[in-house]
Symmetry: C2
Subunit: 364 residues, 2 copies
């Protein structure tokens, strides 16, 4: 049943690591980790839902390798990405006798990966960790690149670190347990990679909508590998999000963050907000004469074919604009957006007129 | 009034930075920072006591450079090195409109430096910061090397990061405002550098006890610069405390942490505990036949001449041993100590018999 895995290397000097994508990989966790670090004490951090579905497979594999294994399951959902939960976890690690040689294994979606990664980044000033993402969104985005952290009550991802995993292990099989809505939301980030970096990949997605929606293993392996590869290239050139290169990954995200924030994170899934945000960005780019209406249409058609929303629900343009001025990527009050110039290419554009942003928001 | 400053370079690749030591340096903060980064928004983090004494000088200097400057004073003392205080600070930074280009300036002792550094390391995944240490201990130790963090209720420095400052500015003049007891405690770490790395420096200290106790500027500048230089060399070779090289800086510290922990951090100042800890380590080394009684005597004589304690107050050997087994530097339960082989040279020694440790603790 196990097809060959595909390997993607994230090149970051002495912090380089592999992303391995294949079917049935969860059961290989022990070998994957043991090949990369000495593990005598593993701490699996997961959530209540993933614990039932997948974490036991990971635990069994680690135990076979002879490590002591502890498992901590946090409540499911974004609320666990808080300083309160982090504080509980740090104390739990202390109770478990964790030390600088213990290894954190994050098994779950983006919330679990970000939270567990932040714990790993900060416990005794940093211990090794591995990512085993179990949602499509986490597999193609949040598990790659080393951004970890938690939310403050009034601002997402405001406290965190750059802390690279020693490896990322991806199992396409686990995606079968995702709800249709969650799964589709993850596809938004996949589409994003095509738009910002790879027109050919975008065309591949257009040609494989049925395979994507049917969660076909061969299509998924290829799509996840290419998404990770594209993200890895960007991250390798701008690990700490400083040069502006990594900013291209935020295509649609300034809008998305505002949409999520204004709908209090309960109307739209992140991927859905990204889908809408990409449409806002496309409209803004069109308005500024950077792309033709054809670009916008093609992006919209693919997003719709994948069952993704393209207009925000119940949120006003004024409120969105105000929220955007609060985004931590807004430096000293200047509105900047990642905007396309053609399919497969985007640029960071500064000094955008708020009036144009409002118009783009209303273009929907 | 301003004599020439002495400069020490910490070589850490693209994270290299200068430590500048001189008289009256606080008033030069603005220039020092502006020479190293663009500063439009500075956030001074200090404590209530230092705010009165020194932070205003720093603020005035930054304002002269044209930056917007905010100042946050935390309550004085180790209790501020907590997750609760950190959470308050992150939210305060958010309220002040801090973003990725804001610069944190830590003005205070070790508590302020560790706390402010941790805030800088984690706010929006890391923003630039500068250290302006105002105690002798912070000047020769905690402000150099990038270790930042806070305590958990049951474990010191358990949550943190390695986050290098962009520069460290040291003013010998501020030491005049220290209490005699605090000042002398700082001298323990100075003596430590001589013992672990530089017999000649140790001899210089022996010959300059009067100048040290009199806080003579010329003696202080030389002693602080050499201490920083020695620490910088070690840090450059082992930035993340991984190779074992940086462990030499922990001479006396496994004992000291246990003494501090067992006396609930209110009987001994850190430097006092280090002084006692160095004596414990010397006794242990002597017991293991690694040094002669002469070594122990010479170390004891200098510490006593500087007014430092050499035996712990009101703490039992059994309790200290138990606390040591809890230290985060104890890896998987193995007791390891930094022990001298001669003046100016120490080694990390593993597999120490707990019986020998107890005997060394009772040798006092």
């Amino acid at each position: 049943m196990t097809d060959p895995s595909q390997n993607v290397r994230v090149e970051l000097g002495d912090r380089s690591y592999d992303i391995e994508i294949g079917r049935g990989n969860l059961a290989r966790t022990g070998e994957f980790i043991a090949a990369r670090t000495k593990i005598t004490h593993g701490i699996i951090i997961t959530d209540a839902r993933v614990e039932q579905l997948h974490a036991e497979t990971v635990r069994a594999s680690l135990l076979r390798g002879g490590a002591r294994v502890d498992l901590i399951a946090v409540p499911e959902g974004e609320r666990s990405k808080s300083m309160e939960r982090a504080t509980t976890l740090w104390n739990q690690l202390l109770d478990l006798g964790a030390d600088r040689r213990s290894v954190v294994v994050a098994v779950g979606g983006g919330v679990v990966g970000d939270l567990a990664g932040f714990i790993a980044a900060t416990f005794t000033r940093g211990i090794p960790f591995f990512q085993i993402p179990t949602t499509l969104l986490a597999q193609v985005d949040s598990s790659v690149g080393g951004k970890v952290g938690v939310n403050l009550p009034r601002a997402k991802n405001m406290v965190g670190a750059f802390w690279q995993p020693l490896g990322v292990l991806i199992d396409t099989e686990v995606l079968k347990s995702m709800t249709e809505r969650d799964y589709r939301a993850g596809l938004a980030e996949v589409v994003k990679y095509g738009v910002i970096l790879d027109a050919e990949f975008f065309a591949f997605l257009e040609a494989n909508v049925a395979g994507l929606l049917g969660r076909r293993h061969d299509v998924l392996r290829r799509v996840i590998a290419r998404s990770c590869e594209l993200k890895a290239q960007v991250v390798a050139g701008d690990e700490r999000d400083e040069s502006g290169l990594r900013a291209v990954l935020n295509y649609g995200h300034t809008f998305a963050h505002a949409i999520e924030s204004e709908s209090r994170y309960d109307t739209h899934l992140h991927g859905e907000a990204v889908s809408i945000g990409m449409m806002c960005a496309a409209h803004l780019a069109e308005r500024l004469g950077r792309v033709s209406p054809l670009f916008t249409q093609r992006q919209q058609r693919l997003l719709e074919a994948l069952g993704l929303p393209i207009v925000p629900l119940d949120v006003k343009a004024d409120a969105l604009l105000a929220a955007m001025l609060h985004d931590k990527k807004v430096e000293h009050g200047q509105l900047r957006f990642v905007l396309p110039t053609r399919l497969g290419h985007v640029e960071l554009v500064g000094n955008i007129d708020p009036g144009d942003v409002k118009a783009a928001l209303s273009a929907q």
